[in-house]
Amino acid sequence: MIAAIGGFVVPHIEYTAILPELILLGVAIIVMTVASLSSRPFPAGLWAGVTAAAGAASLGAAWYMSNQVNSRGPHTTIAGAIAVDGYSEFFLVVLSIAVILGALVADNFLRREGLDGPEFYVLAMVSAAGAMFMSVANDLIVVFLGLETLSIALYVLAGYNARRRESHEAALKYFVLGSFSSAIFLYGVALTYGATGSTNLARIGAFLAGNVLVSNGVLLGGLALLIVGLGFKVAAVPFHSWSPDVYQGSPTPVTGYMAAAAKAAGFAGLLRVLFSAFGLMRADWQPIITVLAAVTLVVGAVLAVVQTDIKRLLAYSSINHAGFVLVGLAAASAAGLSGSLFYLLVYTFMVIGSFGVVTLVGRTGDARHRLDDYRGLARERPIVAAVFALLLLAQAGVPFTTGFLGKFYVIAAAVDARSYPLAILAILSAVVGAFYYLRVVLLMYSDPLPAAGRAEGVALPPGTALVLVLASLFTVAFGLVPGPIVDFAHRATLLF
């Protein structure tokens, strides 16, 4: 209808390319509309079920497109702003999984806290759609739009528990610092555009290949700011300071979802920017990423040791995980990249599963998050304790789990890239990591505190139970037979 208005050309839109995002956004809008049109209460678990189904549908769509890419090869679409390649489909799969697992964990939590309603799920789906746009983006503007969609929804989710002061505080901190970093990112986009004349990643790459900049200060400054903006999202040190406070204050299921989705999206953007647009400037960004990786590994591991709150402990541990992903990135090789992708996928299961257990142990009020609250859990809930122990050991990198293989692949890539100090640092941080993970495991298997008044037991609702089963099955099964996941991650890096 409107072919051109004032010189603006409406591009051809290939809807299948953004099908997962469309599914999530569409379901989100339908849910919100239906919920506001009806005054009757809805059956318990309906919205969680719908969200999980939408996640499953987007997973299916992403999987279908992944196979399409395998057979037909990658391409870009919608005026070159969206990339349809193995890499974007990989992240679509990861994010769809995060939505499914996140919704299942949240279901019982929301009812327990008296917060049930469609808004939570709508926000989760919208944020996931934003994260997905970041992963498929082939244009800095689209990256930014995705980033903002993701972030704004997450700010609200962080403050979702209106009755808890910590939740407000978390939302506000996240919002202020997030806006700060978004501004930095946007400034980076502007400088890059100024230097290269385009925001399209492929065109930036082509421009840099075809031209030698006499004065590249603007370009390098832009790259630096882009790294900072995305480094904030993945909570790389020194841009991590928000994450312990926000992880601790947010409702626990939100923390788990945020830890998985925001990190995956941040890395999706970071990898895309660094490899698609600035692949030729590897020599410039590799030292930065290496240093960021080293500092992130060390600070995450060291600060996790002194925590007494499980959510803060897992926050620092996830900073440490980000360090591992950065190790693979710093190798700047196909092996390192596929190692990082493998790590992100397996981390999604481990972290949402872990926060699922934390949600259960937090009990009504979402407040019992001291490490001492984990004493004697094995006696009260042997299976929950066993699953948590498994997920923590996997995060520590115990063999025969996916966690071990993730660490193994990125460290192997670092060794191949001859960055031995980084590899050694990563191994040492894994040693420190074993210390704080095992501390929690030991607490669970020790005697409970005698004085602790145990008014409320740890319940195990079916949704969370399903998540725990999926997370532990995935962690063990693909720890034993990693082939399919390794292939998936490897293909994602081939079809760039």
Partner: protein, 650 residues
């Protein structure tokens, strides 16, 4: 039917898992039956795979199935799978077959034990580990199975851990085995560094052009592992103490299966052994000396199970002698026939112990043939088999080894023949003391009061009164205890048919030929020599029997024939405990004080303290104020920008 191979391994594993997680729900006898069924199913699967292999022609009787590849990067990959060839399937057949019988027997034997289910959990785990050991297609998983059976052995020796002797015997077995395993691990490193793989096929196809020194080192290090596991000199001291475990465990693990793993490993590694004649000579000599020394000790033991334990060490010595003489077929033949008659001896001894309310001292037995006819009859079959009387299987398998030993060196043969004499002697002594003469068990234990003996089997019925129901006259156990005895007795009679040294009937030798390549055997000697050797050992064995009968018949008090030196195993345990335990204790105290506390703990604690200290300092930055956080981000941005701009434009 070669596809039944995974079931061989999986069934015991499934049994183990089911019993672990829902053993309580199954209840006591059912758990035992389930474990038995799992192992019996595994036996059936082994038979199917065996039949399939027989169907292949002999050059292609080696099938490798790889189930998955773990960590396929960095030049090192582990192919987890099985190597189905005549050797591994022979092992699998007799391991699962004998295990099934012993599982069945245990259902009754362990009936009154409060830890009944745990016993079967361990047994199924043991069978799985043993099968992983023999079926694995690579050294690494053989080693894992090796450690698995070691762990199960430790758990089962110390099964009655509330008894100090059992707990310390378990520890002893574990620690002594570690010494040998250390050699095994180093051998693995050497193999990998030279050939770049641990798969059997890969390793054996990379042996062209390896140095003799490498082969000798690997062979001797593997031998160290085998010596520990198979209780050969000088690491034999753990096996007699291992008799603290329940008798079915002694039969299964410490007689029939696990202790033969060393012989299996040597046979599996035969392509390496062939490159190093000096190692073969060492193996043969070690085996011969062990056979002789252990047999002398067995002559002076009073405890029925300890006689059998030393006898096991002695018979394993024969198998090593066979391996050293490159008679792998003969060694495997003896391994199988030994599994039959030694399992039978232990189970029958268990039946005696069971009937006498946990009495193990032969001096307090006697005259049991009348009250335990089935036990005595089957025991007699095993006695003739181990003594080397035709047509029982022990005669043929032992003579196959001795014939090969003669070909290697007449001295080794002579040592073997002396051992035949001693074997016939101590087994006849055991037979006479236990089953004939006056019944000394009533006089020695008036009123059936609990045995004070240090080595007495734990009164399993003590807590639940399970044995109280036959406090009076000893009698045979139920059918599930006697059927395994009868089956094993049958096998001990006909087991010789596996490998007869004439008329081209040496089936087992031909069967194993494709695996071990060149081997020697009695069958390949000249006819005159062959008959001469057979007759000579037969005469020697008969003399041993006659001698023992003459000395011990109706005369059980003969301390002059039981010198303290032999009764105490040449004081080897005392020697070890003085030299290694005290010396080692002093050294470990030194190391604990000087090295461990300062260097190792210092490092570990240092890292922890550093992490803690660093964390405490760093966490001060985590003020909770947004302005501080924003400042941190800004500072980081400035640093990165500064770095970038320092690289900018020339």
């Amino acid at each position: 039917m070669i596809h039944a191979a995974p079931a061989i391994l999986l069934l015991p594993l499934v049994g183990f898992a089911v019993l672990t997680f829902s053993g309580r729900r199954l209840g006591d006898p059912a758990a035992g039956w389930l474990a038995t069924a799992a192992v019996a199913g595994s036996f059936v699967a082994s038979v199917l795979v065996f039949a399939a292999l027989v169907g292949h022609d002999s050059a292609h009787r080696s099938v490798e199935q790889v189930y998955y590849r773990w960590i396929p990067v960095g030049g090192f990959q582990v192919n987890v799978g099985v190597l189905l060839d005549p050797l591994s399937i022979t092992m699998a057949l007799f391991v699962t077959g004998v295990s099934t019988l012993i599982h069945l027997y245990s259902i009754s034997y362990m009936k009154a034990d409060p830890q009944f289910r745990k016993f079967f959990v361990y047994l199924n785990l043991f069978v799985f580990s043993m099968l992983a050991l023999v079926l694995s297609n690579n050294f690494l998983f053989t080693f894992l199975g090796w450690e698995g059976v070691g762990t199960c052995s430790y758990l089962l020796i110390a099964f009655w851990f509330d008894r100090d002797t059992a707990a310390s015997a378990g520890k002893k077995a574990f620690i002594v085995n570690r010494i040998g395993d250390f050699g095994f691990v180093i051998a693995l490193f050497l193999i990998f560094s030279r050939t770049g793989t641990l798969d059997y096929r890969g390793v054996f196809s990379h042996l062209g052009g390896v140095s003799g020194g490498w082969a000798t080192a690997v062979a001797l290090l593997l031998l160290a592992g085998a010596v520990g596991k198979s209780a050969q000199l000088p690491l034999w001291v753990w096996l007699p103490d291992a008799m603290e475990g329940p008798t079915p465990v002694s039969a299964l693990i410490h007689a029939a299966t696990m202790v033969t793993a060393g012989v299996f490993l040597m046979t599996r590694a035969s392509p390496i052994l062939h490159l190093t004649p000096v190692s073969l000579t060492i193996i043969a000599a070690l085996g011969a000396v062990t056979a002789l020394v252990a047999a002398t000790v067995a002559c002076a033991q009073d405890d029925i199970k300890r006689v059998l334990a030393y006898s096991t060490i002695s018979q394993l010595g024969y198998m090593f002698l066979g391996v050293g003489a490159t008679a792998y077929g003969a060694a495997t033949f003896h391994m199988v026939s030994h599994a039959f008659f030694k399992a039978l001896l232990f189970l029958a001894a268990g039946s005696v112990i069971h009937a006498l309310n946990n009495e193990q001292d032969m001096k307090r037995m006697g005259g049991l043939a009348k009250v335990l006819p089935v036990t005595a009859g089957t025991f007699a079959v095993a006695w003739l088999a181990i003594s080397g009387i035709p047509p029982f299987c022990g005669f043929w398998s032992k003579d196959a080894i001795l014939g090969a030993a003669y070909g290697k060196s007449p001295i080794l043969w002579a040592i073997g023949v002396v051992t035949v004499l001693l074997t016939a002697y101590y087994m006849t002594r055991l037979m006479v003391l236990t089953f004939t003469g006056q019944a000394r068990w009533e006089t020695a234990r008036p009123g059936g009061s609990p045995t004070p003996g240090h080595s007495a089997e734990r009164p399993a019925g003590e807590t639940q009164g399970g044995h109280g129901d036959h406090a009076g006259e000893p009698h045979e156990g139920p059918w599930i205890m006697t059927v395994p005895l009868i089956v094993l007795a049958g096998l001990s009679v006909v087991g010789g048919l596996l490998d007869l040294p004439f008329l081209n009937l040496e089936f087992l030798d031909h069967w194993l030929d494709p695996v071990v390549g060149h081997q020697t055997n009695l069958a390949y000697q000249s006819a005159g020599l062959k008959v001469g050797l057979l007759l000579a050992t037969l005469v020697v064995a008969l003399s041993g029997i006659a001698l023992a009968r003459g000395l011990w018949w109706r005369n059980w008090r003969r301390p002059e024939l039981e010198p303290a030196l032999l009764a105490n195993n040449y004081y080897a345990d005392d020697f070890y405990s003085r030299v290694f335990t005290s010396g080692g204790g002093a050294m470990s105290r030194f190391l604990a004080a000087a090295v461990d506390n300062r260097v190792i703990d210092g490092t570990v604690n240092g890292v922890a303290a550093l992490a803690r200290g660093g964390g405490t300092v760093l966490r001060r930055a985590q003020t909770g104020y947004v302005r501080n956080y924003a400042l941190g981000i800004a500072a980081g941005t400035v640093v990165i920008l500064g770095f970038m701009l320092s690289r900018a434009g020339s």
